[in-house]
Each structure stands twice: as structure tokens, then as C-alpha cells.
Point group: C2
Chain length 209, copies 2
DNA sequence: CAAAGTACTATACAAATGTTTAGTATAGAG
DNA sequence: CTCTATACTAAACATTTGTATAGTACTTTG
């Protein structure tokens, strides 16, 4: 077994045992549970090890509380700073978040990338076509859109046009809203009628090859 | 307060309370702790709510065990499909991953975005300047770079030039390597001498406002 | 060489905790 | 109108659990 810096082999084993409980969504083990797992005949043995882990800064013991071993985050896995955004295929109608049958997977996104949208219904789409090259959004990019954010002029939106999802910019001309493609090839202005805006694009992800 | 599908407001509050403990690395609360937090005068009230959450599939109760409430993963947070990439400021020299004093935070990135680089040393940088507009990389974007990937022609790389990090494209002309800015404003070719390539850009993140 | 740390056993106690039984009250569904 | 679900109070009991005291034995560090 590998060992963690500054810890003895036994202490490493104990710490990994504690972490296993957390990964599984369970409360920390009791000292008797630890003792049983390692074959100790007294809970004091387990208590001593956890005490050593506390002195070395890996855990915190909440005195008196049952299962009172708190794992201090070694910079990983503890702080959940991500959101799982469902990846959707083409969404013919309705709120995309409810179309579970079109769910293709999930994309984990750092909350910092979705500032202010973290409690909204979000979805991710793979960009196809060149309609948004003017805004530096290309085929193969991923976009994360917010279904609950009111669209404003200039926003890149996911719109449903003729049963297909496309990315467009929301534009305003003479007080009326239009959808505009950001590409020299597509210069059409689409009036905002009988058509749905399914979400406002909040972030873009590109993988380089 | 928002509510989770199929749960009452109270049940949503209880579930969020349970999740808070987990986020903090602590064991689940006892029924009396839940009761105290919500002002219930009997632990049975808390117990009933958690029982309802169990019937609806959000938690599992380990009978008899203290703090025996296990949070069942609703497709998120449990499976760790992300990598925490350190965000670095300007890195004057050396392997960026070891320059912990320049660490500004971490960016969680979906492993799918870093295909093949997940075991390498990665770092994230905030893009400043317009030198890569030709490759659709703009000021304010985040790039994640791999310090262990051999650079190839055409790759966008993080290079150290005059003590500053810049993004450039690795180009080849007459068998020799150069660094090239991808902007009409900057057309200089920089010879690949006495200068370090600190990483190859693997993915780009943009936040829209 | 002594002191501190590691690695345990053995026994015991008070407090913490899950659980049970017995109710009350309200709202919504069939 | 009845049944079920929600949303609690009240009191009590058997375990579970953290913790304490008292040891033994071995290893590492100053």
C-alpha cells in the first residue's frame, strides 16, 4: 500500500477507511466499527489512531459526538464546486430539462463558470454548423444554456426553429426582437414569432485535439 | 426556496440540511440535531421526514446505526468525473505545477474535456491580450494546458517569453519551429530558443455575461 | 539512554441516539 | 366522506457510542 506523507502505514489505512465511508455517502464509522474492521479488540486502538490523524491535520474530532470524525479536505473531492449539467440532443419542444429521453449524458461544470445560474435549469448542447463563428463559437464546441434566464439583446440563445435547435444572437431593430446568425454566410434575420427560445448560453467549452 | 421534484418544501429543506453536512465532511446529523435545527420538539418529526425521503429514494436509513442516514447520489457529486486543475498566475520558470505559491484557486474540469491528459500535470490560465483571436481564444477565456504533452505543429502552447506567459501557435517553417501569434496585429515569428513551452492547451472555457 | 511516539488490550460508565408507542391536526385525493 | 400523506408533540427504553483509566510492548528520536 502507498502511504500519505507524514503518516504511518497504519494511519494511512485508517484514513483511507474513513474516506471510503465518505465516498459512499455514509457517516464516519464509530471507533468500534474501525476496531472491528482492523481486528482491534479495543475501541481505544482506533481512537488513538484517529487522534494521531487529528494531530497531523487530516481529520477533526468533534468531541462527544457520535461518528464525530470530520474529514478535512486535502484540496480534493470534498468541496463540490461543480454542477452536473445534462447533455441534451435535439429538443423538439418544451422545457429541455424535462425531456429526459433526450439525455445523452452529463457534463460537469465548475460553478464559477455559471455564476448566478447555479440554481436554474441548465442543459448542454454540442454545437453543429457554423452559424455562430462571428461570436467565436464553432462546430464541436459545447455550450451550456440556462433555461430560466430571461434573454436580453445581444445574448446568444438556443432557439427552436423548424423543429431544430440552433444558436442565434438576440437582436433588436426598431423596437422589435429578431434572431440573427453570426456568420457571413447566414445573414438572415428571423422574426421572433411562433418560435421558442429554449435557453440563454452561459458558457462555452472547447476541446483541442 | 426552490423545491426538488416530488418533494414537499419541508422535505427539500431537510434534504438540503443533510447535504450540507456531507459537503462539510461531517457525518449525517442525528434526528435530535435535525429537530433542534428546525425547531421540532420531538425527534420523531425529523425521523418521519427522513423516512419520507427514504421512500422517495433520496436517502437510505441504516437501521439502528447512529447518524445512519446515507445520501443516495442523484446522479451527481458521487461519481467524480472531474479533475481539479490548479489556476496559476504568471509563472516565471520551471514546471508550473510545482509553483504552489502562484496558485490562485482551482478549476473543476470534466474529464471528457481532457481526454488523454487526465494523468498529466495540468494547469489553468486566464487569457489576457488578443494574441490568439485567430484561433477563437479571447481575453477573459480560461485555458487548461498540459505540462506533460509533447507539443506538435499547430498546437496552441503556453510559452514563456521575456518572463511572461503568452499563448502562441507552434509553427514549422523550413524544418524549424517558431512561435506564431494568431492575430493580424501581431505577426511576429519568434524562434524557439532560450524560451520555454510550459504546456499544450487542451481545452478552453468561456463564461458569457 | 531517556523520552516520546506507535500500536495495541481490557474494563467500565455516562451520555448520546435510534426507535417505539400513542396521540393531535391539517390538506388533498378518490 | 374516508383514506392517505404531511407535519408534528410527548414520554420512555435499550443500545450505541465516546471517553476514561490502567496497562503492555516495541520503535524512533533527541
Amino acid at each position: 500500500m502507498f502511504s500519505i506523507e507524514g503518516l504511518t502505514l497504519r494511519q494511512t489505512e485508517i484514513l483511507e477507511f474513513l474516506r471510503k465511508f465518505r465516498r459512499e455517502g455514509k457517516s464516519a464509522p464509530t471507533y468500534r466499527e474501525i476496531a472491528k474492521h482492523f481486528g482491534f479488540k479495543s475501541p481505544k486502538a482506533a481512537s488513538d489512531h484517529v487522534h494521531a490523524l487529528e494531530k497531523k491535520g487530516y481529520v477533526r474530532r468533534h468531541g462527544g459526538r457520535s461518528r464525530g470524525i470530520e474529514l478535512l479536505s486535502p484540496k480534493d473531492t470534498l468541496t463540490d464546486n461543480t454542477i452536473s449539467v445534462p447533455i441534451l440532443g435535439n429538443i423538439p419542444a418544451g422545457y429541455p430539462a424535462e425531456q429526459t429521453e433526450h439525455r445523452l449524458g452529463t457534463l460537469a461544470v465548475d460553478k464559477a463558470m455559471l455564476d448566478g445560474s447555479t440554481r436554474h435549469r441548465l442543459f448542454a448542447l454540442l454545437v453543429s454548423g457554423e452559424s455562430m463563428e462571428g461570436r467565436s463559437i464553432h462546430e464541436g464546441d459545447w455550450v451550456v444554456a440556462d433555461a430560466d434566464l430571461p434573454p436580453h439583446e445581444g445574448d446568444v440563445v438556443v432557439a427552436l426553429i423548424d423543429g431544430e435547435n440552433t444558436l442565434k444572437t438576440l437582436a433588436k431593430q426598431e423596437g422589435r426582437f429578431f434572431l440573427k446568425a453570426e456568420s457571413p454566410k447566414y445573414s438572415d434575420l428571423i422574426p421572433l414569432k411562433e418560435m421558442m427560445i429554449q435557453g440563454v448560453v452561459r458558457s462555452i467549452f472547447r476541446r483541442m485535439y
